[in-house]
């Protein structure tokens, strides 16, 4: 069967290199380095956690920020299909989130309906669809990253507080509801 999701998750989305500092300061790269002193206070175990977080943060707050055309794009060479497969004594597997990401980008990609019809007709390639979906994903993530940057830099969000990241997500609910009621 033709599974768009399976195709989509083989790819790796990108982000604006200008926001790389967020990845450097908020994530513990390479795992296992949790005891490293430099990593104290880093709150995401790896880059894709921050990526997922930023995407949802952007999504829930409706922050769709198009990447500047001139932006230099970066990725962390880790395809979506591996995201969340970190089962260990301390962590649970959360690969199921991949599907939610996928549904969200489908839901939020305007006019994707026509493309999907064209895809089934064979008039558009999977690649073309994926490209469109990635734009959506990257732009929400970009929005989320910018929002996070603003919260930290301008609103003095104390990231060392354990609930800081969760709180931002919980606060977004209000945002989502406001947006919905406006709509």
């Amino acid at each position: 069967m033709d599974k768009l999701f399976d195709e989509w998750k083989k790819s790796t989305p990108k982000y604006d290199k200008n926001l790389e500092h967020l990845f450097k300061s908020l994530t513990r790269k390479g795992g296992g380095a949790e005891t490293d002193r430099e990593d104290k206070g880093k709150i995401f175990s790896n880059n894709y956690e921050l990526y997922i977080y930023a995407f949802f943060l952007g999504l829930y707050n409706n922050k769709y920020e198009e990447l500047p055309e001139t932006a230099e794009l970066k990725d962390f060479s880790h395809a979506i299909q591996y995201w969340g497969s970190t089962k260990s004594a301390l962590r649970n597997d959360f690969t199921n989130i991949q599907e939610y990401l996928f549904m969200a980008v489908i839901a939020k990609t305007e006019g994707i309906e026509d493309d999907l019809i064209e895809l089934d007709k064979g008039k558009k390639t999977v690649e073309a669809i994926k490209k469109r979906l990635h734009v959506t994903m990257q732009n929400y993530t970009n929005g989320g990253l910018l929002l996070l940057e603003k919260k930290i830099q301008e609103e003095n969000l104390d990231i060392t507080i354990g609930t800081s990241m969760l709180d931002l997500i919980l606060q977004s609910k209000q945002e989502t509801e406001n947006i919905l009621s406006e709509a």
Binding site: M1, L170, K173
Partner: protein
């Protein structure tokens, strides 16, 4: 003995004649480093020193430079005048230096002793060394003159103290009689035994008895030694326990509280672990999918979108099929309704409904021949045709089925989404859980603190922290176990000794009966008397020594406490032990738990000087004479606030002391030195103060120009 005067002439930095007059009480000699303090001390030492070396080095360089010329003699001398008893005694050591063909030749040092009796009669003694020992016996001098702080550590030698104590023990002279007494006791016994043996009839029995008695005595003596050791141990442990009990008024309640605290701590740490597990909020965004908390509207959007696409696709498909088979399509397109896709309901379902003549979709009867029946039949035919048609006619609008896969995702997640709705309450449950556990932790911490405060009360007013309290209790328990063991051993030894003594008494009775029958009464009495003498001698000597040690320790502690002005600095402990027949006394400073107390430099000096002063007092008591203490620069580790107590302890515990200090000297901007006004504070006791300083005409680094002068303040 009092030092009245010291005159130093041309000795080291003292050029010409320098007179130091001293009084009873505290004499303080100030002197900056290099100004002649230590030279004064060494000058006194030199009088008592018989090993002569480098005499040339002792001559004042200024004297060498200014005085020594061909034919002129320069005398180098140190003279000390003391009063002792009712006499005045002077001892002078000197040598003559003169120039001989550009080199300096030096005469052998000579010692002169002058005795001035109470009557005023004054004469030079024939044996000045004897007079010198009379003035300041070497053994006493060892505990009277100290250069620097390290010298004071002489007390750390076990033999040093016992020698000194023995020297002043009243019973020392008795000690000499012990071997004699032992000898005579032995002789008397032999005489009695020999007399007893004379009766041949009982000789064999007598020999056995004598043998048994000797053996039993030896055994008893061995056992008594052993018992004695246990008694000493018990004493030591007992005194430790007493100290502990001061701290741990109630060991039982201490233990109960400690156990309660331990359990609380365990509970707290368990709770903390649980809280930590629940506080991985960022991690749980992923691991527990909390990040999907707001996802529901997104999913709805997806679902709607995909449903619409699917619908569009089917419509398009239908329209496409319509174009292929217009006629058929028109038939099918009733009222513009988009039919279900071909194959829905499935072929088997359709066949089932036709057979039952019932439409199970709308639950209406469809008897054979009815319109509904025909509709179902046609639809089945249509499907069969379509399937067959597909086999040869592959023409289709859609080549792929991606949209279908998207629908499937939507369908399969329908159920999961209902869980997302519950997510928010799960998160707040987690928060509530964490909060309530935290409240539990705080409550437990409060309870623990209460217990700790109570335990602190049990520990008492000591400065022991709670951490070391655990060690204390463990030690305390250990001590209690030890003392139980020791007491058990003691009891069993006492029983053994008693039974042996009974046996001995029995044997002795038997032997005595034989002796009475055979030996003259006077011999028996002599033996008894000699036995008594031996016992008295041994016991008195031992007791006297012990008393002195106990007294010395008490005195030293009193002085030590008073110099420390209430601060807790441990206790001086003198441990008496025996090596062979030789007594040993060990000096230690211990805390309340008999662990070595860590003293800082100043405290160590105070501990040593306290013992020193106690010795000085003991000497005074025992020898009926006091000796001056001379200390050179013992205060380098001192804070100035310690001085009053330090000097005061000397004032109170000695008749005379000479303390050389580098303190209380200040230098102004012109490098003029003077005695600091703080020295004249009323709380610094001194009966006399002198100041040794380099003469103002001395030029630095030109030793031939320098000389110390002594100024009375």
């Amino acid at each position: 003995m009092r030092i009245k005067q010291v005159v130093i002439t041309n000795y080291q930095s003292y050029y010409g004649k320098n007179v130091f007059d001293f009084v009873e009480g505290v004499n303080i000699i100030h002197g900056a480093n290099g100004h002649g303090k230590t030279k004064f001390f060494e000058a006194i030492e030199w009088i008592f020193d018989d090993y002569e070396s480098n005499l040339e080095g002792l001559i004042s360089q200024k004297a060498v430079h200014n005085e020594i010329k061909e034919g002129i003699n320069v005398q180098v001398s140190v003279r000390m005048t003391v009063s002792q008893g009712n006499e005045t005694k002077t001892i002078e050591k000197s040598f003559i230096a003169h120039k001989n063909n550009e080199s300096i030749s030096i005469s052998r040092p000579s010692l002169i002793g002058i005795r001035e009796e109470e009557t005023g009669e004054r004469y030079q003694v024939d044996f000045p060394k004897e007079l010198r020992s009379e003035i300041f016996d070497e053994r006493i001098r060892r505990y009277s003159m100290f250069k620097g702080e390290t010298d004071l550590k002489v007390f750390e030698s076990k033999d040093a103290l016992s020698t000194l104590i023995e020297m002043f023990s009243d019973a020392t002279y008795l000690k000499n009689y012990i071997p004699k007494a032992e000898y005579f006791v032995g002789r008397a016994e032999n005489a009695v035994t020999a007399a007893g043996k004379k009766n041949a009839r009982e000789e064999k029995q007598y020999a056995i008895l004598s043998e048994e008695i000797i053996n039993l005595r030896r055994e008893i003596s061995d056992k008594e030694k052993e018992r004695n050791q246990h008694e000493i141990n018990i004493d030591k442990i007992q005194s430790s326990i007493l100290k502990y009990e001061n701290i741990i008024e109630n060991a039982e309640s201490y233990q109960t509280l400690s156990e309660r605290i331990r359990i609380k701590e365990e509970e707290i740490s368990k709770l903390q672990v649980r809280v930590r597990e629940c506080e991985n909020y960022t991690q749980d965004l992923f691991d527990k999918n909390w990040i999907l908390v707001n996802y529901k509207p997104v999913f709805e959007e997806y679902k709607t979108k995909i449903a619409n696409v699917s619908k569009t696709k089917r419509r398009l498909e239908n329209e496409f099929q319509q174009k292929i088979g217009e006629k058929k399509a028109i038939e099918n397109l009733k009222n513009g309704i988009i039919p279900l896709p071909i194959g829905a309901p499935t072929r088997s379902h359709m066949e089932e409904m036709i057979e039952a003549e019932l439409c199970k979709v709308c639950n209406r009867e469809a008897p054979k021949g009815s319109e509904a029946y025909e509709f179902m039949n046609n639809r089945l035919q249509e499907y069969i045709e379509a399937v067959e048609k597909d086999m040869f006619e592959k023409k289709q609008l859609f080549k792929h089925n991606y949209i279908n896969s998207l629908t499937k995702i939507s369908d399969s997640n329908d159920e999961n989404i209902s869980n997302l709705i519950k997510m928010e309450s799960k998160i707040s449950e987690n928060f509530e859980f964490v909060e309530s556990r935290k409240a539990d932790i705080n409550k437990k911490i409060e309870e623990r603190e209460k217990d700790e405060a109570e335990r602190a009360k049990v520990i008492g007013g000591s400065k022991i922290d709670v951490g070391s309290a655990a060690t204390i209790l463990r030690d305390f328990k250990g001590l209690n176990t030890n003392i139980k063991d020791e007491n058990t051993s003691l009891r069993s030894l006492t029983n053994i000794i008693n039974s042996k003594k009974e046996k001995l008494a029995d044997f002795q009775n038997q032997k005595n009966n034989l002796d009475i029958a055979n030996v003259a009464g006077y011999l028996m009495k002599t033996q008894e008397l000699l036995n008594d003498v031996l016992t008295i001698t041994v016991e008195t000597t031992e007791k006297e020594f012990n008393n002195l040690v106990i007294d010395l320790e008490k005195q030293a502690n009193e002085i030590f406490q008073s110099t420390n002005e209430g601060a807790y600095t441990g206790k001086i402990k003198l441990y008496k032990s025996k090596r062979g027949n030789q007594n040993q006394v060990e000096f230690k400073v211990l805390d309340n738990f008999n662990n070595p107390f860590a003293l800082n430099g100043a405290q160590e000096v105070l501990a040593h000087t306290s013992l020193l002063l106690a010795i000085s007092k003991m000497v005074k008591n025992e020898a009926n004479e006091s000796y001056p203490l001379i200390l050179d620069a013992p205060l380098s580790t001192f804070d100035s606030n310690k001085y009053p107590a330090f000097f005061n302890s000397f004032k109170e515990n000695t008749d005379q002391c000479i303390i050389l200090v580098k303190d209380f000297i200040k230098e102004d901007e012109n490098k003029k030195i003077s005695i600091d006004s703080s020295f004249y504070q009323a709380d610094i006791v001194k009966d006399k103060s002198l100041w040794v300083k380099l003469d103002e005409n001395s030029i630095e680094n030109q030793i031939e120009t320098t000389n110390s002068v002594v100024i009375e303040l």
